[in-house]
């Protein structure tokens, strides 16, 4: 296959970036999208140029590190991660445009590499159950209905890649945050911190500069793990509920 690539190149955080065009004449349809970049990069290095920098690691669709915006879609035309996209999804002679995730909260570090530490900080704000190692009850002490456990799993399957943010015209991180909030809202282990968790995570999400959700469902359409927008509905419900009845409101009387 012959492929023309238009790729975003940017020297560093502060540099002005731009598209550069590359011509590839020997692309195999069995190559993954990232392997096509590997082959191109070997050529660039041999010519003494800097290779195109992009994030990637597991290359089996689970670590969430790869993050290319391909022809206007995060991770390209299929609902999968970029590493699981293969060149047989394109036609001989295609021109493919590749950009980094575009969001204020995900600054570009170099070429296609962006900084997603905002996601880590949102998780640090409350994406866990506060238990120390040791001293926990037996694993079978609290039965959890299978359907509830399955639904919690469906939310927990988020890989934190940021495709939802990249897909959203508002660069909203609601699907990402809602996935974690949903997992713990559904499980009995998440109940003690249910209200303050959603309050803290939403507050951190806003502080990071992500936009609001306007229910366009672009995130759901692009999420490689099929996280549902119903998680966002659940998070909204939880958030309003928490604002009206959280521990601070009940015990502190609503103010200092």
């Amino acid at each position: 296959m012959k492929i023309t690539l238009k790729v975003w190149r940017q020297k560093d955080k502060n540099a002005k970036g731009g598209f550069k065009t590359y011509q590839l004449d020997h692309v195999s349809p069995d190559m993954s999208f990232l392997e096509m970049f590997d082959v191109l990069n070997i050529d660039l290095v041999k010519k003494g140029e800097e290779p195109i920098h992009f994030d990637h690691d597991c290359r089996e669709g689970i670590c969430g590190m790869c993050s290319m915006y391909i022809n206007g879609h995060p991770h390209g035309p299929l609902q999968t991660t970029t590493c699981q996209l293969h060149m047989r999804s394109f036609k001989d002679g295609d021109t493919i445009t590749v950009e980094p995730w575009r969001a204020k909260a995900f600054p570009v570090l170099k070429d296609l590499v962006v900084d997603r530490t905002a996601f880590d900080r949102i998780q640090q704000a409350g994406g866990y159950v506060s238990v120390n190692t040791g001293g926990v009850p037996d694993a079978n002490e609290i039965p959890i209905p299978k359907k509830v456990a399955d639904e919690a799993f469906d939310a927990a399957t988020c890989i934190g890649c940021g495709a939802c943010v990249a897909a959203c015209k508002n660069a909203s991180a609601m699907l990402f945050v809602a996935a974690k909030v949903s997992q713990f809202t559904l499980l009995p282990q998440g109940q003690p911190e249910r209200k303050e968790r959603v309050e803290k995570m939403v507050a951190q999400m806003d502080a990071e500069g992500f936009g609001a959700c306007t229910n366009t469902r672009a995130c759901e359409a692009e999420c490689p793990k099929g996280i549902k927008i119903t998680t966002i509905a659940r998070m909204n419900r939880e958030y309003f509920g928490a604002k009206l009845s959280s521990y601070e409101v009940q015990v502190g009387g609503g103010g200092e």
Partner: protein, 641 residues
């Protein structure tokens, strides 16, 4: 050097309890005076960092990825073993211990393995309390499955994403401590050296991968939780970033390397499709329950799956069923892998490269119906189709073995301490629990056992003994010297400006390792491999091309440093494989077979851990032996006929 495993005296089942009591404690008020460095944030690293911070120690944690959640533990599919006996099917701590020792082909330490089985039950409790959504039955209790040929159902799982869910649990615990200010997290930071002074580990040198800045960090103890080294083969099921650099730098600073040649090769991976291939994808071995493995009786080069459908039964060789009538397609991983290789060596491999065998579901679909097969393997079939473009409901799958896990690693004692005091190795980075072969669903168990339930006890003893004053700051000349050396090495790599890329060297190393130190090894091949690797090393340091600069994001430079270390490790693996002229577990020496061509152990000569000591640049390493004593299990030879 005398290796002291520090295995406590007394009956097997009481060793750990007794040992925990005998370990010194650090007073709660004094814990905040200690600093601990944790390198790597997979299951072992994240669980250790979180647990130590909860106890009150000040922790600095490092990972090379953009977030601690990306560590490759995330990719583990199958499950995690624990001796809960929830199924009332006869499991026990002793049975899990016994299965693990036997599965490791009697090359692991009894006391470590028993402890692993003992704490396995606590791991499940801990993960459930963290909100890990394990699979459940309709009654609400946890579900189990039998895995990897085990006779009992002791594997806990979260669909095919168990590693992901366990890691996110540990990542949550880590995040909680980051928020509490007890862990300082350094993302996109790669450890490039360990600093040893006065015979103790004092800290590390890291490169900030976003700025290229080289920084020193000091602490009272350093934990390496940096995973395995399967990427020495270039193609493996490991993530692209997995590397041996942290462990190798520690090795060069005095930490012995245990059993480096013990690698596990998984039989059911998607075959290589061409020279562009960058990694291999594992398909769960549960597929072998229904898939029949075959090649044509006569060589048919380039035979494609869609043409194979029409090949009459009389022209097919179901080689595993023929050679192992009682186990058939369910023979252990190493036996299945080796036989697939033999078929390809005979020229009977299939597909465009000739390096694949068929795994055929047509009989199972005829017998059980497509629906049943879809319910069992639907997601795997989809994944296969996504990667290869073939539909396994209609044509046979093609599979080939791939490197999956490394049982070898830094030698550690019962406390998980390496031969450098204050330097520990946890998880896949150490050699300790799996012997010569790891059982399915045991890697996750070991990573979390080390991090949650072993190191929090054993590190206290070391710290209490040295005292908090025993620390040196990064202004000390030994740190400055280490920083200078790291900078020089990076500059040296950039200055070579040769003609071959890092990836080309890595591929070449991988091919040599796979050919001569892979599924089947012989003295002749290994001697040749050693020469090839030595030549490759010379060529690398005179002809590699690394673009860009040191003070910038530079992924070529990152790779170059890792491949340089892989080349040196490769040579040690070959030395170790040469030394061990027996077959055991994943290590098959052609010279040591039974008359039927099966692996033959030599317990009289090789019932020891081979621990290698670095002796300087281009010097042969020194072999130290830790004799393995088996007081509780009887050594037997495996048979699957």
């Amino acid at each position: 050097m005398k290796l002291d495993s520090k295995v406590p005296e007394g009956p097997l089942a009481e060793k750990w309890t007794k040992h925990k009591f005998n370990l010194k404690l650090v007073n709660p008020a004094n814990k905040r005076k200690y600093e601990v460095i944790v390198v790597g944030t997979g299951l072992a690293g994240a669980s250790a960092a979180a647990s130590l911070a909860e106890l009150g120690y000040n922790v600095k944690a490092f990972c090379f990825q953009d977030s601690p959640r990306r560590a490759h533990s995330i990719a583990a599919q199958g499950g995690i073993n624990a001796a809960k006996n929830y199924q009332n099917d006869g499991d026990s701590i002793y049975r899990l211990f016994y299965d693990t020792i036997k599965g490791g082909d009697y090359r692991a330490r009894e006391a470590n393995v028993y402890r692993l089985a003992e704490v396995s039950v606590n791991i499940i409790d801990q993960c459930v309390a963290q909100g890990v959504p394990f699979a459940r039955e309709y009654g609400g209790l946890l579900s189990n499955r039998s895995f990897g040929g085990a006779q009992v159902s002791r594997t806990f799982y979260a669909r095919g994403q168990t590693g992901q869910q366990l890691l996110l649990g540990a990542y949550g615990a880590l995040n909680r401590q980051i928020a509490a200010g007890k862990v300082k997290m350094y993302n996109r930071s790669e450890m490039l050296d360990v600093v040893v002074h006065d015979g103790k580990a004092r800290g590390i040198v890291v490169r900030d991968l976003t700025t290229g800045k080289i920084e020193a960090h000091s602490a009272h103890a350093v934990l390496l939780c940096t995973g395995g080294y399967g990427n020495v083969f270039f193609l493996s099921t490991n993530a692209k970033g997995c590397n041996v650099t942290a462990a190798w730098r520690a090795h060069k600073k005095g930490a012995l390397f245990g059993n480096p040649c013990f690698t596990q090769i998984h039989p059911t991976c998607i075959p290589v499709s061409g020279d562009h291939q960058s990694k291999l994808t594992l398909m769960s071995e549960s597929l072998r329950n229904d898939g029949r493995i075959w090649v044509p009786k006569k060589p048919m080069p380039g035979l494609r799956a869609k043409d194979a459908v029409n090949l009459p039964e009389s022209e097919r060789d179901y080689f595993l069923e023929r050679k192992y009538p009682s186990f058939g397609n369910l023979v252990p991983r190493d036996v299945g892998s080796r036989n697939a290789k033999y078929m390809c060596d005979e020229g009977r491999g299939v597909g465009p490269t000739g390096l694949a065998v068929f795994m055929d579901f047509s009989d199972a679909i005829k017998r059980d119906g497509k629906k049943t097969i879809e319910a069992k393997y639907g997601n795997l079939f989809d994944m296969y189709q996504q990667i290869t473009g073939d539909n396994p409901y209609e044509v046979p799958m093609m599979i080939f073995p791939a490197v999956h896990y490394t049982m070898g690693g830094l030698w550690v004692d019962y406390n998980l301490m390496t031969t450098v005091p204050g330097l520990y190795a946890l998880g896949e980075a150490n050699f300790s629990d799996h012997g010569a072969n790891r059982l399915g669903a045991s890697a996750l168990m070991q990573g979390l056992a080390d991090g949650y339930f072993v190191i929090p006890y054993t590190i206290g003893d070391y710290l209490a003994n040295i005292g908090w004053a025993d620390k040196i700051g990064t202004e000390h000349p030994v740190f400055q010297e280490a920083v200078t050396n790291v900078n020089q090495r990076l500059q040296q790599l950039l200055n070579i400006k040769g003609k071959k890329t890092v990836d080309e060297f890595h591929r070449e190393l991988g091919l040599t390792m796979w050919e001569y130190c892979g599924m089947s090894r012989s003295e002749k091949g290994l001697v040749l491999a050693k020469q090839k690797i030595q030549q490759l090393k010379q060529d690398f340091w005179s002809n590699v091309i690394v673009s860009g600069q040191a003070n910038d994001i530079n992924m070529e430079l990152e790779k170059a440093g890792r491949v340089a270390d892989f080349i040196e490790l490769g040579e040690l693996m070959v030395d170790d494989a040469l030394n061990r002229s027996e077959s055991c577990g994943g290590h098959f020496r052609e010279e040591s077979q039974t008359p039927d061509g099966e692996a033959m152990r030599k317990d009289d000569e090789y019932a020891y851990v081979a621990a290698w000591e670095y002796k300087g640049e281009n010097q042969p390493e020194a072999l130290h032996k830790e004799e393995l004593r088996f007081e509780n299990v009887k050594l037997t030879q495996r048979s699957y006929k």
